[in-house]
C-alpha cells in the first residue's frame, strides 16, 4: 500500500492517491479528470507494443501503400508519396505539417517508447528517462495517425466510383499500427516511471 498526493492539473484540487495493487485508474473527485493509472504490467505491455509498432512502422514505410487504376493508367502510391508530390507542387506548409504529424512525430514517439521501456524491461533506468518522458509529453497531441486513417477512408470512398483501388501491405500494416498506437496511449502513465527515477536518484545520493 502506497499513498501519495497529486494535484489535478485541470482544476488544481489536491487528491490523495493510494495504490492497493489492483489494476485501475483514479479520477479527480471534483472534475473527473484521470489522475493516475495503475497497471502492474505496464512496462511489459508497453515494451511489446512499442516493438511491434516499430516493426509495423518500417513495413508501412517500405512497402507499397495503395494503387489507383483508371482505364489505361495506374498510379502507385507509397505512404510518403503525398508528401513528395506536395513538396514538388511547392505546397511547403501542407507538406511539412503532414510530414511532421504522420511521419516524424509518430516515429520519434515509437523510438522513445522503445528505448525507454526496453531498458526498463531489462531492469535499468536509463539516464535519458526523464528527458524522454518530457519529450513524449510535448509530442503527445501532434501525432495524428488516427486522423490520417479517417482521411484515407474518406478519400477511398471519394475515388472508388472513378476507378479501381488496390490495397498494399503497407495499408494493412498502417491499420494495425493505428490500433497499436491507441493501445499504447491507453496504457501509458508516466507516474510510476517518475517514482522509479526518484528512487534511483535517492540511491545515487
Amino acid at each position: 500500500m502506497k499513498a501519495d498526493y497529486v494535484s489535478c492539473h485541470e482544476c488544481d484540487q489536491i487528491c490523495k492517491v493510494s495504490i492497493n495493487g489492483a489494476k485501475g485508474r483514479l479520477k479527480c473527485p471534483i472534475c473527473d479528470n484521470i489522475l493516475y493509472k495503475h497497471n502492474e504490467k505496464m512496462v511489459e505491455n508497453m515494451f511489446a507494443l512499442s516493438l511491434s509498432a516499430f516493426l509495423l512502422f518500417i513495413i508501412v514505410m517500405v512497402f507499397p501503400f495503395m494503387s489507383f487504376t483508371i482505364p489505361g493508367n495506374t498510379s502507385d502510391a507509397t505512404f510518403t508519396s503525398s508528401i513528395i508530390y506536395l513538396f514538388s507542387d511547392e505546397q511547403w506548409m501542407m507538406a511539412t505539417i503532414i510530414l511532421i504529424t504522420t511521419v516524424i512525430v509518430p516515429f520519434t514517439r515509437i523510438i522513445l517508447y522503445l528505448t525507454l521501456f526496453g531498458s526498463l524491461y531489462f531492469g535499468k533506468i536509463p539516464y535519458y528517462a526523464g528527458e524522454s518522458i518530457k519529450l513524449l509529453h510535448k509530442l503527445m497531441p501532434w501525432g495524428m495517425l488516427d486522423v490520417f486513417l479517417i482521411g484515407i477512408l474518406v478519400s477511398v470512398v471519394k475515388l472508388v466510383k472513378m476507378g479501381t483501388i488496390h490495397t498494399g501491405i503497407s495499408l494493412w500494416a498502417f491499420f494495425i499500427l493505428v490500433f497499436v498506437f491507441s493501445a499504447m496511449e491507453i496504457q501509458f502513465d508516466a507516474h510510476p516511471i517518475w517514482d522509479k527515477i526518484d528512487e534511483h536518484q535517492k540511491d545515487k545520493l
Binding site: V6, S7, D12, M93, I98, K134, K158
Partner: protein
C-alpha cells in the same frame, strides 16, 4: 483543498508538488527538482495568448471556407473544390455518411471550437461562478476534437497522391487548404495555451462554496 491555496505548485510535466512563497510575484518560475522543467502556478499570459490565437483563427477561417481546397486538372479543363462544394457533392452522389464526416470535421468542429474557446475566455474574464464542471468538460472536448479537423487536409493529401496521372488528370492542393491548416493549428495551440485551472480560480466563488459547505 486546492494546491494554490496551500502554496503548492504542481509540475505540469511530472506532476510533482512543489512549495512556493506566494509573497513573491504570482508568476514566479521554479525549476522542478525531478524533471528539471520550468514550473509555474498558472500558465503565464494564458488568457492573452489564447485570445490572440482565437482571433487569428477567426480571421483564417474566412479564406479557408471561401478559397478552393483543391484543383482537379483533367485534359478537359480544371475544376476547383471548396470545403462546402465537397460536402454538397457527397450529398448529391448519395453518400451522406461521408458528407456528414466532412461537414462535422471541417466546418462544424472548427466553428464549435472557436465558440467554446470564446465562451471560456469571456466567462473566466468576467469571473463567472457558474457551471465549473460543464465548462471544464467543454475545455476537455476542445482539446480532444482539435486534431480531428485535420481529416480534410489528409483527404486532399491522399487524393493528390492517388490521382497522379500525368497528362490525363492530376489534383493539386489549393490555397484554401493552407488557410484551413492554419485554422486547425491556431485553435489547437489556443486550446493548449488556455489554462483550465483559471476556471476554478475565482476567489469569491471559492469563498461562497466554502460558506455553503459550512452551512
Amino acid at each position: 483543498m486546492r494546491a494554490i491555496d496551500n502554496n503548492l505548485i504542481a509540475c505540469s510535466v511530472c506532476h510533482q508538488l512543489l512549495k512556493y512563497s506566494p509573497k513573491k510575484d504570482k508568476n514566479t518560475i521554479l525549476c522542478c527538482p525531478r524533471c528539471k522543467s520550468k514550473v509555474q502556478s498558472r500558465r503565464h499570459n494564458s488568457i492573452q495568448q489564447t485570445w490572440a490565437l482565437v482571433i487569428a483563427s477567426i480571421i483564417f477561417i474566412i479564406p479557408a471556407n471561401l478559397l478552393p481546397m483543391m484543383h482537379v486538372d483533367t485534359f478537359a479543363g480544371s475544376q476547383s473544390d471548396t470545403i462546402m462544394s465537397g460536402v454538397i457533392y457527397f450529398i448529391q452522389s448519395g453518400s451522406w455518411p461521408i458528407a456528414l464526416v466532412i461537414f462535422v470535421a471541417s466546418i462544424f468542429v472548427p466553428v464549435l471550437k472557436i465558440i467554446i474557446l470564446l465562451y471560456l475566455l469571456i466567462s473566466v474574464q468576467l469571473g463567472s461562478c457558474k457551471r465549473h464542471r460543464q465548462r471544464k468538460r467543454l475545455y476537455v472536448l476542445t482539446e480532444f476534437i482539435g486534431r480531428w479537423s485535420m481529416v480534410d487536409i489528409y483527404v486532399v493529401a491522399v487524393m493528390v497522391a492517388l490521382v497522379y496521372f500525368k497528362g490525363i488528370s492530376t489534383i493539386h492542393a489549393g490555397t484554401g487548404a493552407n488557410y484551413f491548416l492554419l485554422v486547425v493549428i491556431c485553435t489547437m495551440v489556443a486550446a493548449m495555451r488556455f489554462d483550465p485551472r483559471l476556471i476554478w480560480d475565482i476567489k469569491e466563488c471559492n469563498m461562497k462554496n466554502k460558506e455553503n459547505n459550512d452551512k
